[in-house]
């Protein structure tokens, strides 16, 4: 009996040490370093467009709801996008003046939560729900009791999209020729927005009218 309890103690100790020492790789990440700028472009000739229009409010998307927003930071965001495009040689016109490009600034927040069954104590349920995640191959095993784990994660980011109104396709659809996401800590702070918007244009040197 004494021997059994000792091996049991060892087992409990090992599991305890394991969970205690599993480390969070981004716990020490500086808020400035947490900012991520993602841009997608297409192979169109960006010099073939001259004018653009941009609305005076941002599109707000929250899970499956959407609306318009014109808070101070939204206006700073719109203004900075417009200034960057103008500096790159494009002319801002009204939406009614048949612009070549339609710019859609947006603020997106997405929250997801729920319970997930875990079949294997070696499988970490929190893993796989991040922006890029996906379930790893052989994470599951059978014969273990099922654990239920609560998870919750949310994403908040700035988004901007530029659609091509000059070459509308036959089925009346406009192609998106550029889009960008700004993610990270503190992105909604008014003082930060100018430099954040400048950063997405700085990494898109092809986005110029001349």
């Amino acid at each position: 009996m004494k021997r059994i309890s000792k091996s049991l103690l060892l087992l409990v100790l090992s599991v305890g040490i394991w969970t205690a020492c599993e480390r969070d790789p981004v716990k020490d990440l500086d808020p400035n370093d947490s900012k991520v700028f993602i841009t997608n472009h297409s192979n169109v000739d960006y010099k073939s467009y001259k004018t653009f229009s941009i609305p005076d409010s941002v599109l707000i998307v929250e899970n499956d709801r959407s609306g318009r927003g014109a808070a101070v930071q939204d206006l700073v965001y719109i203004d900075r996008i417009a200034r960057n495009l103008i500096a790159n040689g494009y002319t801002r016109v009204a939406r009614t003046a048949k612009p070549d490009l339609e710019v859609t600034p947006a603020r997106i927040s997405y929250t997801q939560s729920g319970y997930v069954p875990t079949y294997n104590p070696w499988f970490d349920p929190y893993w796989g729900y991040g922006g890029y995640g996906g379930f790893g191959g052989i994470g599951y095993g059978y014969g273990y009791p099922v654990f239920y784990n609560y998870y919750s994660y949310n994403e908040n980011y700035w988004y901007v999209r530029i659609a091509d109104l000059k070459n509308i396709s036959a089925d009346n659809k406009a192609n998106v020729i550029w889009d960008a996401q700004i993610r990270g800590d503190g992105i909604y702070q008014e003082s930060q927005i100018t430099s954040l918007v400048d950063a997405i244009f700085a990494q898109s040197s092809y986005l110029k009218a001349n």
Partner: protein
């Protein structure tokens, strides 16, 4: 009365001491019983299969594709093991091991197809292994210094996460793994229960992910052990 109590306490303590240390009396009486074989028998550690648990901490250095991925020495290398030590030179046990590697790059733009991502990238691998291992010891089980070689085989829960800022991309799976190593065990006292254990190991796992083609590292660790029978 007080003095009597004190004397009684001393008497009890010496009795208890003698019980814990059979040699205390054995030595005194040795000349009287020299012909009795039981008195010349080895320690129970030499005669019976006994048990040992050890805990070690150390550093690990990545090799191969892991070095390309996280070129940094791991300060998080923990090791707990329990084993059966057989009277001859072999022992067999179970080992739990955790190693963690992490490296962060300065901000740069990562381009993939039409996508550009400007981010601070953090690359990490947490490897939690459970190995069955065998040891061959070069000296007897009660020798003050006991060098050994070991080989282990088992599974590793790999937590391979790559972060762009806080955006996480990764693979979490269980992979086959093994290790070979050499080490030595030092007893603190003759025939004692406690001692120190040092070990150097080479770890290999054929784990594959987008960033890794295998996981290889060398590690050095030191710690304490307790043995009993």
């Amino acid at each position: 009365m007080r003095r009597l109590l004190l004397l009684a306490l001393v008497g009890l303590a010496s009795g208890a001491y003698a019980q814990q240390n059979p040699d205390y009396y054995n030595k005194k009486q040795d000349y009287e019983y020299r012909s009795v074989p039981t008195r010349t028998m080895g320690s129970p550690f030499e005669r019976y299969t006994h048990y040992q648990i050890s805990a070690r901490y150390g550093v690990a250095s990545p090799l191969g594709s892991l070095k390309d991925y996280t070129n940094a020495t791991s300060k998080y290398h923990y090791n707990v093991s329990g084993e059966f030590i057989f009277p001859k030179n072999f022992s067999l046990g179970l080992q739990f091991n955790y190693s963690y590697f992490k490296e962060r790059s300065a901000r740069q733009v990562y381009t993939e197809g039409d996508q550009d991502i400007s981010a601070v990238q953090t690359r990490s691998l947490g490897a939690t292994s459970l190995h069955v291992f065998g040891k061959y010891h070069f000296t007897g089980s009660n020798a003050p210094i006991r060098p050994y070689v070991l080989a282990g085989l088992g599974g590793t829960a790999m937590r391979n996460l790559t972060y762009f800022g806080y955006l996480e991309e990764g693979k979490n799976s269980v992979a086959l793994s093994g290790q070979v190593g050499l080490g030595a065990r030092f007893l603190f006292a003759k025939n004692g229960n406690f001692g120190a254990d040092v070990q150097a190991t080479y770890f290999y796992s054929p784990f594959k992910s987008d960033y890794l083609s295998n996981v290889t590292n060398v590690s050095a660790s030191a710690g304490l052990f307790y043995r009993w029978w």
